[in-house]
Structure formats: structure tokens, C-alpha cells
């Protein structure tokens, strides 16, 4: 699905933040060892979505090129598959999480790049969240090494 407009990008942000939060919720229940980390991720996801949307709603004006900045941006490139099969091991779950976070980070960096010269504060917000996702990948990698 093409993400032609800022409105479409915002809806996709909600989708990926909600879906990844659901993933962490599911596995935090299954593997209490991850509970604290995953719970903090879930809280962060809400905050990330809020930061991005606040920025968008705060600066969107009739002058901003919101409808024309995202040539070539396709949601299909950033969709992630979540396997919630009952027998999934913690190691597999963490690998899935890493893959998911990698896609989300790439999505945020791509949007930041595409909107860099046009969208006022918006690329800054996306870059900030992408950086947090990168930090999160380090955390996940460390967890994986302990499994």
C-alpha cells in the first residue's frame, strides 16, 4: 500500500506502534523474564506515537507539502510478520522483535529523509524516535545473548 500523504503516514505510525506493542504484551506474558523490558517498550510505543502525532498536528498547515512528499513510500516494505504460535521460544521471539524493530527504524528514517527539506519539525521527531528504536535493538540483542 502506497503511503502518499502525511495522513497515511500517520495512520501507519499508529498501526506499527500498536502492533508492536501487542507483540510485546503477548511475549511479556509468556516469558516473565522479559516482563520489565517489554512493559517499558509498550509504554514507549505510546509515547512515540504521541510525540509524532503531536508534532504533525502541531505543524501541519496549509503551506506544508503534506500531500506530495512521500513519492515511492510503500507500507509493504515495512510490514512485519508476527508469529504468535504457542510454541515460539523466547530466542525466536527476540529475533522476531529485532527484525520488527529494524523495519520500524528504517521506516522512520525513510520518512525523515523524504520529508527533510519540507516538513518543518516532522523529520526531527521521526529521527528522534528512530534513534530510540536503535537503542531498543541493542537491548533486545543483549537479551538474546543471555537466552
Amino acid at each position: 500500500m502506497k503511503l502518499n500523504t502525511m495522513a497515511a503516514v500517520m495512520s501507519f505510525v499508529s498501526k506499527i506502534e500498536n502492533e508492536s506493542a501487542e507483540f510485546y504484551q503477548d511475549y511479556a506474558r509468556r516469558y516473565p523474564k522479559t516482563g520489565e523490558t517489554f512493559s517499558s517498550f509498550i509504554k514507549e510505543n505510546k509515547r512515540f506515537e504521541k510525540v509524532i502525532k503531536q508534532t504533525y498536528f502541531g505543524v501541519i498547515t496549509d503551506t506544508i507539502e503534506a500531500c506530495y512528499s512521500f513519492e515511492g513510500l510503500d507500507a509493504d516494505d515495512y510490514e512485519f510478520v508476527i508469529n504468535s504460535a504457542p510454541g515460539t521460544t523466547l530466542a525466536d521471539a527476540l529475533r522476531m522483535a529485532l527484525e520488527m524493530e529494524d523495519k520500524i527504524e528504517k521506516f522512520y528514517l525513510t520518512v525523515a529523509e523524504l520529508s527533510y527539506s519540507l516538513m518543518a519539525d516532522i523529520p526531527v521527531a521521526f529521527k528522534r524516535v528512530a534513534k530510540k528504536r536503535q537503542d531498543r535493538k541493542f537491548t533486545l540483542q543483549s537479551l538474546l545473548e543471555t537466552v
Binding site: 500500500m1 502506497k2 502518499n4 500523504t5 502525511m6 495522513a7 497515511a8 495512520s11 498536528f57 502541531g58 505543524v59 501541519i60 498547515t61 496549509d62 503551506t63 506544508i64 507539502e65 503534506a66 500531500c67 506530495y68 512528499s69 513519492e71 527539506s117 519540507l118
Partner: protein, 487 residues
Amino acid sequence: MEVRKLQNYINGEWVASESNELEEVRNPAWDKLLCHVPMSTQTEVYRAVQAAKDAFPEWRNTPPVTRCRYLLRLIELMEERFDELSRVQTTEHGKTIDESRGETRRAIEMVEVASGIPSLMQGFNLEDIAVGIDEYAIYQPLGVFCTLAPFNFPFMVPLWYLPFAIACGNTFIVKPSPRAPMSQADLFMLFDEVGLPPGVVNLVNGATDVANNLMEHPDIQGVTFVGSTPVGRIVYRKCGEAGKKVIAQTGAKNFIVIMPDAELDSSMASLMSSFFGNTGQRCLSGANALVVGDDAFYKRFADKFVEAAANIKVGDGLDESVQMGPLQNVASKQRVAGVIERGIKEGAKLALDGRKLNLVGDVPETCFLNPTVFENVTPDMSLAREEIFGPVASLLRAKDLDEAIRIINGIPYGNAASIYTTSGKWARQFQHDVEAGNVGINIGIVAPMSFFPFGGRKDSFFGVTHGQGRDVIRFFTDPKIVIQRWF
């Protein structure tokens, strides 16, 4: 389902109009009836003016800091209902949801700036103009003002004036566009919640008759208008004859100069937004792309421009994949289609024909046109000179910047002009010499922020002070000069 009939808001109450004359408001994307809007009677207009006049003495004596608290509450409510307000604009006008959200944000910014009225409205003084004598200027409100609003930014434009007017201590009447009156009705529901004293803000639905009744009423101190140049002239003349203050922000034919050193790739989104944003129905839209440079540069630009325009997704503005909505009504579509036909007859080359529809989803074709691009347009053609107010771009050429500026200054409008360049020298020359009230440098839509005046010259503006910012504060007040000596 019963289709509602909009009401007027007079003296702090919603009242049904006595008029049996109704007009339909239709969703232009789906060609569906949304509501009926009454053409209010003269009696109703006079009732609104009387309510505003009666409210004025107490309101002007309300301290500015208290007056602005009502606006702060309004901002809260607008933020709470941000998306709801935006969706109504898309429904009644057709613009995309991003564009409506942009309009809502701009509207809120107007109220935010107006809520700084305790600072903005301050006068000035000079001690000892002669020994022991001081002089000072106090800015005082004048009474009842009104605005005659356009259809293209139905929610925002009345807020270029209303919050400033009432913050200054005046009272106010809005006549929304009968083509898109719903978002103003929703705004007035918020005013009702805010709890302003009755009569401070009023809304009267209608068309030309209501506008005339307002302009001719002796108790109206001033009128603001946004719309076409021919109507703006009438408003200016009528108000002038009656001794009223007036701001008339009118038509446009905006040029975008593309210099040979312009960053074409990074400029294209901005150019598409300029020419086709709001379906070209805005006074700041780019209309003529004036390309300076050799044949190879022109071809590179034209190819990119036409390709980008051809790729624009057109459909229902509530569909988030859509980049351009319909024209606001079927008459607008027919008018713009007629302009395209005339352009062909004038000898311009139709590089992209927006009449060949390519729409997203199963929307009816009723109000839609895709983007149109003409090449080989010359400055004498009507395509280059007359306001189209639709998604039609004309590509012209000039041999150098001097010639480009001469072409721009040769048309009667002076609303906005932009240049795309990486040269500071060219940008500076353009900014200095071009006869336009709003100038963009690598900016396609030069929409001044709420704390700056909205420029406009020649046939694009009639009046003395402009809308927004400090200018509009001067419009809604009058300086009283006091010279004092104490024995």
C-alpha cells in the same frame, strides 16, 4: 435520513431562520446532499447587528486580559475537536484531510495570536512633548464588524479576523459562504460552549442579500471580505461610500519563477502543493510557472513537472491515499473545463489534460478534474493573466530574471510570487523588484503566519491595513490621542 437545516447564531442563541429560501450544501466528492442553508432575511440580519451593538458597551469594558481568556478556552475546545472539525471541512469543501488539518491548525494559530491582545493592543506615549505636557495614543475598539467569508477556506478565513476583532473589544458577525457553511456552524457551537456574553459573536447564513444588508447597515463599523476581485471592488466601493473600514483580500494570478540553478528534485513536492493543493482553489496557489533558462533546462523542468502532476492521486479527500480532492461544486468544474477549452483555442499546448479523469475509488465524476498542464503559454494569453481557481498550471518562459519580473509586474494582480533558485543575488533582486504582497523564496505557497500581515497589492487587495498580525489590530481599533497638562 432527514437533512438538517442550518441555523443562525444570534445574541447567544441558535435560531432557525424564518426564510423559506434554502440552498443545498453538497459533498463534492460524493455529490451527496449534506444540509440546507437558509438565505436569511433582512430582519434577521438587523437582529444580529442589534445584538452585536447591544453587546458592545459591556464587552469593550471587559478587560483585555479577561477577553483573551475566552479565546484561550476556545483554543482548548478546538484542539479537543481538531479532527472532527477537519473532517467537516473535507466533507463540505472536498480538500484532502491533510489540507483540512492544515486549515484547522492555521485557524487555531489565529486565535492563539489574538489571545496575546494585552500586549498587541497597547498604545504608546511621549512625555514632555512640551514642558509639562504629555501625549499618548490609546487604541480603542469601534463597535460592530462583520466578515463575508469565502468557500475555499471556510473554517479558517473568518478567523483571520474574528478573534482579533473581539479580543480588541469589538463585536462580530460572520456570514459564511453558502457553499461551505458547516464548519462555521461547528465553530459557533464551540463559541456557545465557551460562554461568550450574548451578542459578542453572531452568525448569519446567506448569500449576496445578506452581505448587502450587512454592508449597508449604519451600525456596522467595518467589513472584511475574502473572495474574487470583481466582488472585492464592489465591497470596497460600497463600504467606502458608507464610510466604513474595509479589508478586501481578493483575486490572484501567482507566478512561480524557476531559475536554471533551482534544485528541481527537492522542489517538485513544493511545486505540486503550490499548483494543485486545495485543488488550485486558493489565492496563494501557483498558477504560472515561469521558467528561465535554455531549452534543455526547460525540457528537464517541464518533463518532471508534467510527470509529477500526472501522478497525483485524485479522489475523496477523506481517503488518505488521495492527494487532490474535487472542485468544490459542479459549476466550478464546468468553469475550469471551459478555461481549458479556451486555452487550447488560444494556442497553448495541452501537455496534461485533466478532463481525462483518473480517480481513486468509485467516486462519481461530478466535481472532479485531474491536474492540467499547459505549455507554450505566453504572457498575453488569458491562461496567463486571468485567475482560474482550479488545478490548471501554465508553463511560460523568460530569457532572464529581468524579463521574468517584467512579465510578473505586467499583470494586474499582486498577491504572491515565488522564485526557486540557489542564488542569493537572484533571490534578493526578485524580492526587491517584484510587485507582489507575499514573496516566496523556494516556497510555493507564501501563506503568512498569523503574527504577520497577509500581504497583497494591486488588484489583489483593497484597503489600507491587511488581515492578520499587527495590521489587523490597527484595523479593529482606532487611535485616540490624548494630550494632557496638569496645573
